[in-house]
Symmetry: C2
Subunit: 193 residues, 2 copies
């Protein structure tokens, strides 16, 4: 029997794909093994069990989200940056609900956990989307938390199909971005003396 040629990255990506397809909660060692054409115990040569696999998927997803947000924010300014970041995150969650769900339940296992920098990059990118609003430094953390909350909440509710009549969800999303944009303007710390 020829070897399957697996490694941790392959297993993680397969798990991530499966999570997107069947839902993160349905992810199991068995389905991953089956998808890879391998018996379940073989996975343990590459990954430390289901918890470890989930954690790796979370790191992968957080990294991808960070890249997507970074790209979206990069070069954009003002409302374009906010809009780009918001749409990038929402698009990611819609396309990769399982991966995103993994990031939600993941918790760092220690100070050297690769999850930490991956998440930090996400926060940094989101922060960048707010940079041009020139907020009072005291407001920055609050605005960032608000932005995270809305985007996370909206994406989560949408992914769970919790909005009724999903016809104009796009419209609602744009409306929300506009609302945030308008509210954030006029809060700049730069005031004419």
């Amino acid at each position: 029997m020829p070897r399957a040629g697996l490694d941790p990255a392959t297993v993680t990506e397969t798990g991530a794909d499966l999570a997107d397809e069947i839902g993160f909660a349905q992810l199991s060692m068995s389905v991953v093994a089956e998808r890879l054409g391998v018996k379940t115990p073989s996975l343990y040569k590459h990954v430390d069990g289901l918890a470890d696999l989930s954690h790796r998927i979370a790191i992968l997803a957080a990294t991808e989200v960070g890249e997507a947000l970074g790209t979206a924010v990069d070069g954009a300014t003002g409302r374009e940056a906010l809009d780009g970041a918001a749409r990038a995150l929402r698009a990611y969650v819609v396309q990769h609900p399982g991966r995103y769900a993994a990031t939600v339940s993941a918790r760092p296992t220690g100070p050297d956990d690769a999850l930490i920098p991956a998440r930090d990059r996400v926060l940094t990118a989101l922060s960048g989307a707010l940079a041009d609003y020139d907020l009072d430094p005291a407001d920055e953390i609050h605005a960032l938390r608000m932005l995270r909350s809305v985007l996370h909440g909206f994406a989560t509710l949408e992914a769970a199909d919790s909005f009724q009549m999903n016809t104009d969800i796009d419209e609602s999303f744009t409306w929300v971005i506009t609302f945030l944009d308008q509210g954030l303007r006029g809060r700049g710390s730069a005031r004419p003396v």
Copy 2:
């Protein structure tokens, strides 16, 4: 051996309590049975399995949330209503994270599912918190979705301990409410002619 005197409601409440204590994801038939001093199979006389139990917990939680929001909004006006609803929901999630998590993953099983009216009541109450802003009817649905998203996102992130330095989370929450309140004002459809 004397009977335990169980019924569906008792089992559901015990499950809900356990979900709050150990986390919804850790809820199992076994722990519920153990807590009730009963063997696992006995629970099946009252509840149709773990999926059914989870669903019942979701209905219970949605009902409680609806009541909490209804009480908070009742009689309040303007910012007080918004503030009351927001704090009521957040308090519920903090005190009952397991119950709330049940509502997140629950899906109606059919058109007669008791989950549907329970959720509707939540939406109605949230809607009521926005009533005094006298929004343009076209904006109402968007504003409601935004409010749901922020509150759900904020509470979820807080429950998952995802905010760094949890010192001033209260402050952030108040800031967010203020932001929403200010943004919602001036959007009223009632304009002087």
